[in-house]
């Protein structure tokens, strides 16, 4: 079996009763890749992840992990997965060490293997000081770390993390992200989130899911430029604001101009043209011909937030 794809989803569809949660989702994740799974709440992220971990079967379609079908060869497939559900379920009446040993053994490790691996995991998740602490006594951030530790204890090929940075404080968020980054390479990671910067920080590739369907798939950077096109320009100009605004708005093809101050007598103008229209030459000539000083002009790529909103609210920018 030559497996280059660690995770494969083929036409995954899931109905809860008559409610369609996930519709014909297809994707392939290569070994070592970090894939960001992005979508608003209720978009179908958790459902997709639950199918990929074998917790629930798809209504139709199939999911493969490490080449094993999650319905037909569920046990084999599950042995390759480390999973952190959104709720970070932990046994609060066990100590960190007991819990991690139990989870490792449950996933098929021998007690000797667990002992060898425990040191690394504890160090990677920075839990050294809490080895014998009852989980019930740990703060949310530390529980999150224990959650990640249990997901990697058995060195799984595939790591599935459902919203791993929700509900912890900002410093812990940074640490958790760093931890995930460190883990990449050895593991293939799927990470769901609705926090956009997280995706650009961590992921090689992004899938945007909305109402159960994949609406976009690309690298975080390409997604920005591809969707933004050339119709949004930002120009910094020295000169009288109201006059400049008036002149700019008269240019054919410009839909909207907004401005914000950028120093003495200087303003940054954000210009939205009709879709696909590159107006940079016209704009720069107009400004220079009016004897204003053009300090800077550039295409504006869309931030992930804007892409996300654009894709998920179906707002028509074409006008």
């Amino acid at each position: 079996m030559a497996i280059r794809a660690m995770i494969e989803a083929r036409n995954l569809t899931k109905y809860y009763g008559s409610f369609l949660a996930v519709e014909k989702v297809n994707f392939v994740i290569k070994k070592g890749e970090i894939l960001g799974f992005l979508g608003p709440n209720g978009a179908g992220k958790t459902t997709t992840m639950r199918i990929l971990t074998g917790f629930i079967p798809p209504t139709s379609g199939e999911a493969l992990v490490a080449g094993y079908d999650l319905v037909g060869q569920s046990i084999e497939a599950r042995a390759h997965i480390g999973y952190l559900p959104e709720t970070v379920p932990l046994y609060t009446e066990m100590t960190v060490k007991e819990y991690l040993s139990f989870m490792g053994r449950l996933r098929g490790m021998k007690s000797g293997q667990v002992r060898e691996r425990l040191g690394y995991v504890i160090e990677a998740c920075r839990l050294e000081d809490y080895y014998d602490t009852f989980i019930g006594k740990l703060s949310k951030g530390f529980r999150q770390r224990v959650g990640i530790a249990q997901a990697i204890i058995h060195e799984p090929d595939v790591l599935i993390l459902d919203e791993p940075t929700v509900g912890i404080d900002p410093i812990q968020v940074v640490e958790t992200r760093q931890l995930i980054k460190d883990l990449a390479g050895g593991h293939t990671v799927i990470l769901s989130t609705h926090i956009l910067p997280e995706v650009s920080m961590l992921c090689d590739r992004v899938l945007i899911i909305h109402e159960g369907k994949i609406v976009a798939e690309d690298t975080p950077d390409d997604l920005g430029t591809k969707l933004a096109g050339v119709d949004r320009v930002e120009a910094e100009v020295e000169g009288p604001r109201s006059q400049i605004l008036e002149v700019l708005k008269k240019i054919r093809g410009i839909i909207d101009v907004t401005s914000r101050p950028a120093g003495k007598n200087r303003n940054v103008y954000r210009i939205q043209a009709k879709q696909g229209l590159d107006l940079r030459p016209t704009i720069s000539r107009t400004i220079v011909n009016n004897n204003w000083a053009l300090l800077n002009i550039q295409l504006l790529s869309m931030s992930l937030e804007e892409i996300f909103l654009k894709l998920t609210t179906e707002e028509d920018l074409r006008t």
Partner: protein
């Protein structure tokens, strides 16, 4: 099988770190002690011929102890996993559903057998002053173990239906009380139906064991009811995935 022991071992450790184990143990010892003393006392002072047996203790245990003990010992086993979400981790680990259920069942039986082991003290006391029949004692213990396993399986099924421990306990208590009263209630219906209803009762099959008779039909009754309830528990976990 390995996973079954693993899960059972985890439950046992957690159980003994909780106050529950000691509270339940205390009440169990208190009640069995009371029943034992009363049966010996009435045998010595009453008109009946004094006997060195645990007959009364076993009968009273089946009616006054097991119907609450089993719900209490099993209520958290699956309900808690659902409530805190760890069931999702158990069911996504490379472990089969029946291994999870068997692990929980083995754990609950371990608690029960642990409690039962404490009653061996009464056997010791009887042998010190009297001459109890080892055969009758053995069949009594076999009977109470089978009775207990049936009750635990019922409790486990109730626990698999809900994430609320109280609901689980109330449901299994209800089922157990119902099964306990089937023998008495059977008289109300009469005819063939009466026999059928009585045969379904959980107490109907217990008397023989206490008297020292091991009838295979009684053994089959307890084993099959246990099996059916464990099977239903496994199926209920499975359907949880399909919902």
């Amino acid at each position: 099988m390995r996973n079954t022991w693993l899960i059972a071992w985890k439950e046992i450790r957690v159980f003994f770190t909780s106050p529950m184990a000691y509270v339940v143990g205390f009440i169990f010892v208190g009640l069995t002690g009371y029943f034992f003393v009363r049966s010996v006392d009435s045998a010595l002072s009453g008109p009946n011929f004094p006997e060195a047996s645990l007959r009364h203790l076993f009968s009273q245990m089946s009616i006054f102890i097991i119907p609450w003990l089993a719900p209490v010992l099993t209520m958290r086993l699956l309900a808690e996993e659902q409530k805190i979400g760890t069931l999702e981790l158990l069911l996504t680990a490379p472990v089969r559903d029946w291994e999870v259920v068997m692990g929980k069942f083995v754990a609950s039986m371990t608690f029960f057998l642990g409690g039962l082991a404490l009653t061996l003290w009464y056997v010791l006391m009887l042998s010190w002053r009297g001459n109890p029949d080892p055969g009758t004692l053995a069949s009594g213990y076999l009977g109470i173990i089978l009775y207990g396993s049936t009750a635990m399986a019922i409790g486990l099924l109730a626990s698999s239906f809900t994430s609320n421990q109280i609901v689980s306990a109330v449901v299994s208590l209800g089922i157990l009380v119902l099964l306990t009263f089937l023998e008495v209630g059977a008289d109300q219906v009469g005819g063939v139906a009466s026999t059928v209803v009585a045969q379904l009762g959980i107490t109907t099959h217990f008397g023989d064991f206490v008297r020292g008779v091991i009838d295979s039909s009684n053994v089959v009754y307890y084993l099959s009811v246990t099996g059916v309830f464990l099977f239903l528990t496994v199926r209920n976990l499975e359907t949880r995935r399909w919902r």
